[in-house]
Symmetry: C2
Subunit: 227 residues, 2 copies
Amino acid sequence: MKLGVSPDTFPPRSHEAKRISVVDAAASVFCREGFAGANIDLIAVEAGVSRQTVYNHHGDKEKLFIAVVRDLTERCNAGIFATIATFPDRPADLEADLVAFAERMNRNCICNRDGRFLRKLIQAEGERYPELFAEWREQGPGRTWSALAARFARLAYAGHLSIDDPDVAARQFLALVNAELQITFMLGGTPTEEEVLRSATNGVRTFLGAFAKRKMPAGKQPALAHA
Amino acid sequence: MKLGVSPDTFPPRSHEAKRISVVDAAASVFCREGFAGANIDLIAVEAGVSRQTVYNHHGDKEKLFIAVVRDLTERCNAGIFATIATFPDRPADLEADLVAFAERMNRNCICNRDGRFLRKLIQAEGERYPELFAEWREQGPGRTWSALAARFARLAYAGHLSIDDPDVAARQFLALVNAELQITFMLGGTPTEEEVLRSATNGVRTFLGAFAKRKMPAGKQPALAHA
DNA sequence: ACAAATTTAGACAGCCTTGTCCAATTCGTC
DNA sequence: GACGAATTGGACAAGGCTGTCTAAATTTGT
């Protein structure tokens, strides 16, 4: 009740710390074992608390699962939008800048712990919690694609790219820079730095091959090229 | 009625039929519930046999799971190679032919029951059965990509495309024509015919934007490009 | 129609898991 | 040091699941 400003109010300190510890451990176990296979005792041990503490904090297994997904969704979305904020709006070297951006995106949002865990939970349990993952879908990919499409549209408007449909281009950009990581993702692995870099490099090269400045809408149109 | 050639020897008929029925039901239940959540009783009911029959045929839950994965892998690989055999080696209309090929690939190998089930099992249990899925990886994606890369190389050699690395191009082709289906796949859904067509169309258009005949190897080469 | 093999239903033991309860202990704060 | 809240460990009931066993019913080949 003191500390009017930045409230660590009621729960002293390690209360919240334990809650986080439990959610983290639960994320790990749910991902490894699936919802049905996850064992509350194991989560408790991995979190370094007693089983009763898990129940005190989260009520039951399903509520704990939902807390895990909400937590991951929130952090992943924050990471994605923070990364999109670093998009190269005024590129010095378009190819190099896009490769660097793609690498940040992959490393900080897709390949990191939260990204891998959230993806796996969605794939494994998405059908069991429709409204939970519908929420993720709207707040996550939906807004991600829009934001990224807007950045590409801006690059096009500034004359760096030639894009028909920025939304399609945004989705294809992400698909391309991940093209070489698909199998690793499927099997739950973490790509090496080098794999991430190579996939990003190859993906951006192809992306620019399709969308870089020169554009001829099917017919020949050499007249506009007054460089 | 001995059929000396193709021996349906001892086990008469519905024996094998029941085995298949069990494996099919098991695939469905394992996918819906995960390995730990799958219930042998439920599999038996869904297969229309008694629980004991399940055990008679497959021994235990783990052996049944392995049989399911092997079965799916085999059928999926067969489908993929059959589809690759329809690749347009001598295209009349390159874009239209590639779109049609991509649609076949998506519809018959990726979006069908076997494809969705196998993908989900790999994602959910891949880490638990390393050698089982390593086998899939080599026989499936590994050979798929090689075969597809060879087809693209042939198109390039015939002068229809300009490709540096056919393996990379093959992976990017698949990534592009699936770009718009990712979220649906993640949540376990089945895309509509129209979504498949649109994703294939957009993907092939971008692919050809990057790899269609004209090529400038990254560095500027304005000597040749006097527009 | 007969004999062998297969399938079925049901019961069963053994094990594991969830979620609750409680008494003893520790922790943070005053 | 003392107080109240949080945590712990352990016991516990209820229920579910796997895998086995058996005797009866059914199917199959001849």
